[in-house]
């Protein structure tokens, strides 16, 4: 009897602290896309992140091996919003399961529940996270620093890098702790009303910054000049009198409608625009040379 009790104490899952969650988050942050594969995507990264927690929870080697295998099924999400939240939730679910296993109760947190929670959240959170982190916040930092880079200053590279890394570490930490606290209910919080407002505000700010960038940095102009009966006509000056910045806007809007119609065919847009601009530049250049010769 004493031996059985002692064994039960040895196999008792340790409790999971805030610090354990932080470590799991940092491990996932580091491993993020290192083992990226075609068949499992980022599953191994999340599993490697959770490893210290799983070791604390499952003292029996066969239980631990099962837990490792449980987290190797296909998984793909975004680094902070998805990965942060889901690593927190997984730690919470696994600690409930581990105590059920230890007390030999029936397991309410079964393999299906764990996988379905991951599968349900990974897509939605990846969509939100990609749009906010990589698509908006990153480019707001870059937009702010771009003029410095254009002046040849190193801070133009350092500022967006450092700011974005700090942002991601902080946001991911917040979501990992949140995920652990809320466990199963985390999803509703992240896709809740307040978050939607923040997302909307950020997307407006992002669009606004793109407008500033477009006006400042897209350089499409005409070099055409005519000389009609002794009078110079410079095409670009005439365009500027009608609507300043018309040509760059035309190019951006044209591309936007191309993406809206044909989907995100970025490579094709790059190649297509290169050809169009190349042909246009050639014609304009030859025309200007020709007009020089005949006048």
């Amino acid at each position: 009897m004493a031996k059985i009790i002692q064994e039960s104490i040895d196999l008792k899952p340790e409790s999971i602290s805030k610090k354990d969650i932080t470590i799991a988050w940092l491990r996932w942050y580091y491993a993020n896309e290192i083992p990226h594969s075609f068949d499992r995507y980022l599953a191994a990264s999340l599993m490697w992140g959770l490893m210290p927690i799983l070791k604390k929870l499952y003292k029996k080697k066969s239980d631990l091996a099962e837990a490792y295998q449980r987290h190797l099924l296909f998984f793909n999400t975004q680094l902070t919003w998805g990965g942060g939240t889901i690593s927190g939730i997984m730690a919470s679910l696994e600690s409930i399961r581990a105590s059920e296993v230890h007390q030999e109760k029936s397991i309410s947190i079964d393999d299906d529940l764990i996988y379905n929670t991951k599968a349900g959240l990974m897509g939605a959170l990846a969509g939100i996270g990609d749009a906010i982190d990589s698509g908006t916040v990153q480019y707001i930092f870059i937009a702010i620093a771009l003029p410095w880079a254009q002046q040849g200053l190193a801070i133009g590279a350092l500022f967006p890098f450092i700011a974005f890394v700090l942002y991601q570490l902080f946001v991911g930490y917040y979501f990992a702790q949140l995920g652990f606290r809320l466990g199963r209910n985390a999803a509703t919080e992240v896709v809740g009303n307040k978050m939607q407002m923040i997302i909307e505000g950020l997307s407006i700010l992002g669009l606004f910054m793109m407008g500033i960038l477009a006006a400042s940095y897209i350089k499409v102009s005409s070099i055409l000049k005519f000389n009609l009966s002794g009078k110079d006509f410079i095409v670009q000056e005439i365009l500027d009198k009608i609507l300043p910045g018309f040509l760059p806007l035309l190019v951006v809007m044209g591309l936007y409608y191309y993406f809206a119609k044909k989907g995100l065919k970025v490579t094709r847009a790059l190649v297509g625009l290169t050809i169009i601009l190349g042909v246009w530049a050639t014609i304009e250049y030859l025309l200007v040379e020709y007009l020089k010769v005949i006048s």
Partner: protein
């Protein structure tokens, strides 16, 4: 003065840097290093001892990669690889930044095929991960999840980058320099200046609802009109944040007003939103 020449040391340092990024060996921080050419441009500037020229060129390359990130892990072109080749070409050939952009695009496309090959190698290493997981072997898992994929990435990207820099960059710079001025240069400049529009259009498409394009237009014409005032990006960012805040606030107030009118008899319905 070493013209049209990349030393073994220069090629090695830049190739190691790019291999670290593409193998994701620097952890989550490599996300922004891979999507944005900025830090790679700075490293190239340090290695070639010409930070100002490198940064100016990188800024031009950044513009075409605005908005490029990889939903689902697929990238059409690799900015870090493109920059690591195009910036040395620009620095060696004393080229205009916009002309360097035209060099960056094809190199970046090649790089994206290599990144796909990395997934393939990782898929094979995955078999080992499965085996260690079944054994509950924690040290084995660290080996197969972190160490081996990292080594595979380095072995894949280092030789490619070294060759592209040591042999490729001086060759391209040579060709472009011999055609300096004239039609070829004009074409490269026009293309380079216009391609920035791809990144910006992509960002608009990805981040905004269709009806919110009005905010893009507002900013566009504000910037066109205010160009002589030399307003900084930080000022514009603050202005944009205020406008975004006003809009969200107004929209929320309107939604609350509607909710109050329709649910006058159930007065606990609006509570859930503002208690955290």
């Amino acid at each position: 003065m070493q013209d049209m020449h990349v030393t073994v040391l220069q090629a090695t340092i830049i190739a190691i840097w790019v291999a670290l990024i593409m193998s994701r060996g620097l952890g989550g921080a490599t996300l922004t290093l891979r999507f944005s050419p900025m830090m790679t441009g700075l490293i190239v500037g340090v290695v070639f001892n010409d930070i100002p020229h490198a940064m100016i060129t990188t800024a031009a390359i950044q513009l075409i990669y605005m908005g490029v990130f990889s939903p689902g892990g697929q990238m059409p072109s690799e900015p870090a690889i493109a920059t690591a080749v195009a910036v040395p070409v620009a620095v060696l050939g004393k080229m205009d930044p916009t002309a360097a952009v035209a060099v960056a695009v094809p190199v970046g496309l090649l790089g994206s095929y290599l990144y796909q090959l990395r997934f393939f190698l990782n898929t094979m290493i995955m078999k080992l991960t499965e085996k260690y997981a079944a054994e509950g072997n924690s040290h084995g898992l660290t080996l197969s999840i972190i160490v081996l994929p990292f080594i595979a990435g380095i072995v894949l990207f280092f030789p490619f980058m070294f060759a592209a820099l040591y042999f490729g960059a001086p060759f391209i710079a040579d060709i472009i320099k011999s055609n300096a001025g004239g039609l070829a240069f004009h074409i490269l400049n026009v293309i380079g200046g216009g391609l920035a529009a791809v990144g910006i259009a992509l960002t608009i498409y990805v981040i905004g609802k269709k009806s919110y394009i009005i905010f893009f237009l507002l900013a566009y014409f504000t910037a066109v009109v205010a160009k002589p005032l030399n307003i900084t990006m930080v000022t514009y960012a603050i202005l944009g944040a205020i406008i975004a805040f006003i809009f969200v606030l107004a929209k929320n107030e309107a939604a609350n007003a509607v909710a109050k009118n329709t649910n006058t008899n159930s007065n606990n319905s609006g509570q859930a939103d503002d208690d955290y």
